[in-house]
């Protein structure tokens, strides 16, 4: 009797399935496992944001949009260029200072992504805000 042999399909599927186990363990045990749901972030209107003492403004829009115009003193931190852009923000920011993140509009995901990541990485649970209405609300109030 011939022993059963598995061809490339068996190896292909076997590897694809086998990777599920360490992935599940990683989700459960990894200290840097991502949150399954993005947390709710506090929103703030433009007027209230300007009254925040020592607030640091974070622009999550693409660099080209930032170059065309931005809130004075804002730091550019596009979601997809985190590693290149986080240092200038950290030079400006100190623990305890509020951060106001904005994107083009409310429906722009980048602002929420950047604010969530800042919240996770800086550990500032209650001092990171999303600017309601984004750049458009600031620029054309």
């Amino acid at each position: 009797m011939r022993p059963p042999r598995s061809g490339w399909k068996g190896a292909f599927l076997g590897l694809a399935l086998a990777a599920l186990l360490p992935a599940a363990l990683s989700a459960w045990l990894h200290p840097r496992a991502p949150l399954l749901r993005l947390p709710e972030l506090p929103e703030i209107g433009a007027e209230a944001a300007t009254r925040l003492p020592d607030a640091v403004w974070v622009d999550a829009r693409p660099p080209e949009a930032f170059a065309k115009g931005h809130i004075p003193q804002a730091v550019s931190l596009p979601a997809g260029r985190w590693d290149e852009s986080i240092d200038p923000l950290l030079d400006r920011w100190e623990p305890g200072r509020p951060l106001v993140v904005y994107c083009s509009r409310d429906d722009c995901d980048a602002g929420r992504t950047v604010a969530t990541r800042l919240r996770r990485e800086l550990g500032e649970e209650n001092r990171i805000y999303l600017l309601r209405g984004g750049w458009e609300a600031w620029h054309h109030p």
Binding site: F12, A27, P34, G80, W82, T113
Partner: protein
């Protein structure tokens, strides 16, 4: 010998990429999210799954029984990455690849596409150097061979 070199290159790149991303799955989830192709939950699932798959397939390249399947799996991953990078370029997204974990590859998205193409070609070369699946070979009885 050159086939082993090709396997070594592919294995080393995918091991390094998988390990770098496995160290910080949260950062990788945010990298995937920046492509704006998947909802957050799927980005999280992919961020946890893809590094494990890359590492497993890279190790499986050194197991002769699993080699062909692992090469095809890695080729499928390269094709997927190329499609995703191409879509990011087409949409002019201001992002870095995230392919090798945190940090940008030199050359931006074009550099990442070049690396992926290089990997895909190396995998194709390694595939051509692999013996075809033994399942397909005709089973010749020994009595026929040595009659």
């Amino acid at each position: 010998m050159s086939s082993r070199l090709a396997l070594g290159f592919v294995s080393a790149v995918f091991l390094a990429a998988g390990a770098a991303k496995l160290l910080d799955p949260e950062a990788f989830a945010f990298s995937i999210e920046a492509y704006r192709l998947t909802p957050w939950m799927l980005s999280v699932a992919l961020a946890l799954y893809l590094p494990c798959l890359e590492i497993l397939a890279a190790v499986a390249l050194w197991v002769p029984r699993l080699r062909r399947g692992a090469l095809l799996l890695l080729l499928a991953l390269c094709t997927l990455f190329l499609a995703v990078l191409g879509s990011a370029l087409a949409r002019d997204l201001p992002i870095t690849c995230g392919c090798l974990g945190p940090g940008a590859l030199p050359g931006g998205l074009w550099g990442s596409i070049a690396l992926d193409l290089c990997l895909a070609l190396t995998i194709l070369y390694a595939l051509t150097r692999q013996p075809a699946s033994r399942d397909r070979l005709p089973q010749v009885p020994r009595t026929v061979l040595f009659r």
